[in-house]
């Protein structure tokens, strides 16, 4: 038998730390890795300088007409002059304050919500915000001039379509996902059929159907709004994907969670909403975020049924006889906006994921 003395912990050798070590490990760890790294840098070297030259060094920022764009680079004057079109479509200029008010309220909302603890109050505030925004955008009551939906367009239309799609598809998707787990065969098969039918069809088809076929079910003379029809189509489409993502989350929940919830006396809905759903959502967040990001991008398809979203505005503004051939600037601008929104959504989902993480050690 022997007794050993306790050993001191020593500092790790310096060759395993620091920037040089990181570069060696990650960029030049093998011949293949080294070739890929060099090719990557080479690619960036070819792409970046000319892009910067065009978009910044040779670009034109000042002025109000095309003639003032004398440099070889991009003519950002075009974007500046058409900004209202890109952002608000054909929304009447005198009413634009309403949309601006919604944006300002949104900023206030984001900041304000941090200081509110109660979930119910938060929900109430967000809900009222949606209602107020809807009233402000559409008008027609409280002395606000009515703005018909064919005047809506640009980024504002993109946001309307995406947010309505997200907000309404979410609860529908949850209910459909629960339905697929139901003990009642009828409910289960209705939900399965719904999801499988929708998922077998591209969004474009659903948009066509909702704009052409949906009206056939309504009596002659009742024509309901084109945008509303698109929103219904997109919501139903998205709900099927939300349902599938949430179902994936539900499958990750062990049976013991259901049993424990039953055993402490919770009702079916209490069990699902308080115990099962929060855990399923946590698992589903990355996939749900992916689905919502694709929805945001897919909103561009509304063009084919005659709605003019942000992307469609490029063609419309560049068709202006004063600004012919400005598509490149337009598309670059729109790309940046789309990227910013999608990146924001992706960051937000990362943040949510961390917030939900209670597996802390």
């Amino acid at each position: 038998m022997a007794v050993y003395e306790q050993k001191q912990a020593l500092e790790a050798p310096s060759s395993t730390k620091g920037a040089i070590h990181w570069i060696k490990e990650n960029l030049f760890s093998s011949p293949l890795n080294t070739i890929m790294t060099l090719m990557g840098f080479g690619f960036l070297y070819i792409i970046i300088p000319p892009l910067l030259q065009w978009a910044y060094f040779d670009a034109n920022f000042v002025g109000t007409t095309r003639e003032q764009c004398t440099g070889d680079g991009a003519c950002w004057v075009f974007i500046k002059m058409k900004m209202d079109m890109f952002l608000y479509g054909f929304y009447p200029e005198t009413e634009l304050w309403r949309l601006k008010a919604i944006v300002i309220m949104f900023v206030a909302l984001v900041i304000g919500l941090r200081f509110i603890k109660s979930g119910k109050v938060k929900f109430g505030i967000v809900f009222s915000y949606f209602i107020i925004s809807l009233i402000l955008t559409a008008g027609g009551i409280f002395g606000l001039e009515s703005v018909p939906t064919d005047k809506w367009g640009g980024l504002m239309l993109t946001i309307v379509v995406a947010s309505v799609g997200i907000v309404f598809s979410f609860p529908i998707g949850i209910i459909v996902a629960f339905g697929r787990q139901s003990n009642l065969p009828i409910i289960r098969s209705v939900c399965v059929t719904y999801v499988e039918m929708i998922r077998g069809v591209p969004l474009i088809t659903i948009l066509f159907m909702s704009s052409v076929i949906l009206p056939l079910f309504f009596p002659e003379g009742i024509s309901f709004d084109k945008l509303l029809r698109a929103l219904i189509g997109i919501t139903l489409f998205q709900a099927a994907y939300v349902a599938e993502n949430i179902r994936g989350g539900l499958q990750a929940i062990p049976k013991g969670q259901y049993e424990a919830a039953d055993a402490i006396g919770l009702s079916y809905w209490q069990k699902m909403l308080l115990v099962i759903l929060p855990q399923a959502l946590k698992v589903a967040i990355p996939n749900l975020a992916g689905a919502f990001i694709s929805l945001f991008q897919d909103t561009t398809l509304v063009l084919i049924i005659g709605l003019f979203d942000l992307l469609a505005m490029v063609r419309i503004t560049a068709a202006d006889s004063h600004w012919l051939g400005m598509e490149t600037e337009g598309y670059v601008f729109v790309t940046v906006i789309f990227w910013a929104f999608c990146y924001g959504m992706s960051r937000y989902s990362n943040k949510l994921e961390k917030q939900f993480d209670t597996n802390l050690k």
Binding site: P254, G256, Q257, E259, A260, A261, D262, A263, I264, G265, L266, S267, Q270, L274, V275, P278, Q279, K282, F356, T358, N359, L360, K361
Partner: protein
């Protein structure tokens, strides 16, 4: 129902498909009685006690708990589950809720207790099982023994008359078994009716009023702990005791 019986199980039969898992079970439990159920794996112990709070349905026979007939009637199930608590082998705490929220969930939503009172009750029971200082942590931050004590506190929060334990210590590391058993011994002294599926024979000898041996879906032998361990009658029980006590 006889006067001081809290549970009466009559001619209970249950099948999983073609598999006859519970065979003609008859069992009466008096108020305040502590019953220990043991038997080989797959003998139907879990299934039996899960029938009592209707986590499992059964095809034949009847169970009456505190005057409540166990059926698929939602109102009766609700009343039943307010009266009967269950502690599981794998704790089944809700990992997305803090310890405190795990405990207050049922009082707030099922009993409509004001939040303040629910928290006070929860803290009282956490203190009772010796982990009041962990109230704000999450289940995964606790050891197995602590989690099981939280689970016991959670089941106590609705002040049940009857407590069911399904092998509460068999998922625990050896050094944590006694901290959970200590809590259970304390509970046993309080006069609550308890049915414990466990192979902790020390616990059975110390607190049980009756020990039940199940095999192949049947109650094979039922006796006071002393006779059960000292003079087992059936050969199957003798063999079983040999196996679990031999090391």
């Amino acid at each position: 129902m006889k006067d001081n019986n809290v549970i009466e199980i009559k001619n209970l039969n249950k099948w999983y498909g073609d598999f006859h898992v519970l065979k003609d079970i008859n069992l009466e439990v008096k108020k305040g009685e502590i019953i220990v159920v043991c038997g080989p794996s797959g003998s139907g112990k879990s299934t039996l006690i899960r029938c009592i709070n209707y986590l499992e349905q059964f095809q034949e026979g009847s169970i009456v708990v505190d005057g409540i007939e166990v059926t698929d009637d939602i109102k009766k199930i609700k009343a039943l589950r307010e009266d009967v608590a269950m502690v599981f082998q794998h704790f089944n705490l809700f990992p997305h809720l803090s310890i405190l929220d795990n405990l207050t969930l049922s009082p707030i939503w099922v009993k409509n207790m004001p939040k303040k009172d629910a928290i006070a009750t929860a803290m009282k029971f956490l203190d009772r099982v010796g982990i009041a200082e962990q109230a704000d942590k999450y289940p995964n931050q606790l050891s197995g023994g602590q989690q099981q004590r939280v689970a016991i506190a959670r089941s106590l929060c609705k002040n049940p008359n009857i407590m069911l334990f399904d092998e509460p210590t068999s998922a625990l590391d050896p050094e944590m078994v006694s901290e959970v058993l200590d809590v259970m011994v304390e509970l046993a002294k309080e006069g609550r009716t308890m049915i414990c599926v466990t192979h902790e024979m020390g616990f059975a000898k110390k607190v049980a009023d009756r020990v039940i041996f199940m095999d192949a879906g049947q109650i094979v032998e039922e006796n006071t702990p002393k006779k059960f361990f000292d003079n087992p009658e059936s050969d199957r029980l003798k063999l079983f005791l040999d196996q679990i006590l031999s090391h």
